[in-house]
Amino acid sequence: MDFSLDKKHEMARSLFKEFAEAEVKPLAQETDETETFPMETVKKMQKYGFMGIPVPKEYGGQGCDPLTYVMCVEELSKVCATTGVIVSAHTSLCVDPILTYGTEEQKQKYVVPLASGEKIGAFGLTEPGAGTDAQGCQTKAVLDGDEWVLNGSKCFITNGKVADVYIVIAVTSVTEDKRGRKKKNFSAFIVDKGAPGFSFGTKEKKMGIRGSSTYELIFEDCRIPKENLLGPEGKGFPIAMHTLDGGRIGIAAQALGIAEGALERAIAYTKERKQFGRSIAQQQNTQFKLADMAARVEAAQLLVYKAAMAKATQKVYSVEAAKAKLFAAETAMAVTTEVVQLFGGYGYIREYDVERMMRDAKITEIYEGTSEVQRMVISGALLK
């Protein structure tokens, strides 16, 4: 068993690192402060193929593997978690399901411009009354001639207003089981921005990842072509769950990046900061904390990379993805909290990146399945 990266992946990492340091880091604070979507950065990422890393070349992608994609999200998130999630939501939640479940026509029409970055993607499952319990979804889709008519709303949608293509999960029928219990059957749809009856609600004001465009999507008799059904009718729930398995690996990479970024800053700061006549890095309390964080971060990295490798080689990788996300997210939260503590008063000041990182870390324990959901997935597999 060899845990070292090959030269190809090492070079890819050096590319992402160089890009993140030069192009993303200088804007991270302003992106957070002004809550502005970093469109200029996204355009640069489009130019260099970052929006289609794990997509085959025949569909306009880079032809790389999930590990390369994960390293991209990781390196971006080390300096700016907003930029990390833009790539993650686009790639894992929109491009991936079309690539996995789409017809050849759908792939040509949607994956090609998405993978080249010409278009941005988003995914809508969550509703005001349905988060962890997706069965609570109210958004409905009814076939009317050659069109599906969507009614309802989706909330907390990443890349909400900037996206051009949306994967939307809606109820297409309700059936009763033998005991008379009603069960909603979902289907997945591809919705273009500008579809009649599709509009945006309010922009969410968030604690962290404040440059990410988080919006409510509203469907009022929204009409989309019949051929925009993604996968078989009634299979929307497994499609959404499988999509989220991939998404969780992306968010785990984002969380990993946040933790690594915070640890790097802590190492630099504690070597400089002097108290009682010596640097705080010379105090054993600091040394032990740094050691604990480094061990935890590396463990998170191994889980995240393992999940990425599982996505490349296995059909089902729910448990690997859940473990990676659970551990990386909780690592991000714990490490950033500890790093703010090491920074003392300066850690609480917005001028220092670690304050932002601590706010950014929190969402990784919540979106694309809370830590509690990840525990359900993991224990479910254990007790099967």
Partner: protein, 260 residues
């Protein structure tokens, strides 16, 4: 159109500098990057490729690990890569290096050869012009702008207080400044492709029309007497005197140090 870009793997100035006992650089022990002037030269070649469809070949002489800068160049968009490596070529100064590279270039078809102005390790700025001399080509150094005009190139050459605009018929050699452009990043897919490609490896036997006496450490007229890392300067001496006294004081110091 065929463009050959000569690139060099140099120690990353952010890392530490280490020396061999003979005073030459211990390249194996240092972090390495593509020399910045060479990278600008490569970018210039790739821009010509974008416009005209030219074929871009990168060539380097170095240790086998110099393969990394060739892969980087391929990942940026170069078409072919050649590594010239051989034990007998080690320890080369600018003369032996340019002799080697010219010997390799004689195997290739080229309209334009681009090198960096100088490498950040040696800072001689000699290898580019020497290659041109070996091959009997016109050379335009210190290029800060390059334009292709039919079978000629028009180059803006940086000069101390002005620039020269020079036109030369191809084939010719240009040495590039890092100010020439902002080199592009690699792409992830480009990296994957770069590792699928074959890098051509040439040794001494593949060099055309060169004498053994002009190669490697033995063929290098430059002898390194001593090499050292940067030595920190002292704090200096501060004096507070009026202008007349200052002049007298300075003259005295200059005489003392045998400067005048």
């Amino acid at each position: 159109m065929n463009i050959v870009v000569c690139i060099k793997q140099v120690p990353d100035t952010k890392g530490g500098v280490k020396f061999n006992p003979d005073g030459t650089l211990d390249r194996a022990a240092m972090l390495a990057i593509m020399n910045p002037d060479d990278k600008a030269g490569l970018e210039a070649a790739l821009r010509i490729k974008d416009e005209t469809g030219a074929k871009v070949t990168v060539l380097t002489m170095g240790l086998p690990k110099a393969d990394a800068v060739l892969r980087e160049a391929l990942a940026m968009g170069a078409d072919d890569a050649i590594l010239v490596t051989d034990r007998v070529l080690g320890g080369a100064d600018t003369w032996a290096t340019s002799t080697t590279i010219a010997g390799a270039l004689r195997n290739l078809e080229y309209d334009l050869i681009i090198t960096g102005r100088q490498a950040i390790d040696g800072d001689t700025a000699q290898v580019g012009p020497q290659i041109a001399e070996h091959l009997g080509l016109p050379v335009i150094s210190y290029a800060e702008e390059i334009k292709i005009d039919g079978d000629s190139v028009i180059v803006k050459r940086q000069f101390e207080d002005r620039y020269h605009e020079l036109k030369a018929k191809m084939p010719c050699l240009i040495t590039a400044l890092s100010e020439l452009n902002e080199p592009r990043y690699m792409t992830p897919g480009g990296i994957f492709d770069a590792f699928d490609k074959e890098v051509t490896v040439w040794g001494r036997a593949d060099l055309k029309d060169v004498d053994d006496s002009d190669l490697g450490l033995k063929g290098s007229p430059t002898k390194i007497a001593k090499a050292s890392d940067k030595v920190a300067k002292g704090a200096g001496e501060k004096v507070n005197l009026d202008p007349t006294e200052s002049v007298a004081y300075l003259m005295g110091k200059f005489k003392e140090k045998h400067i005048i």
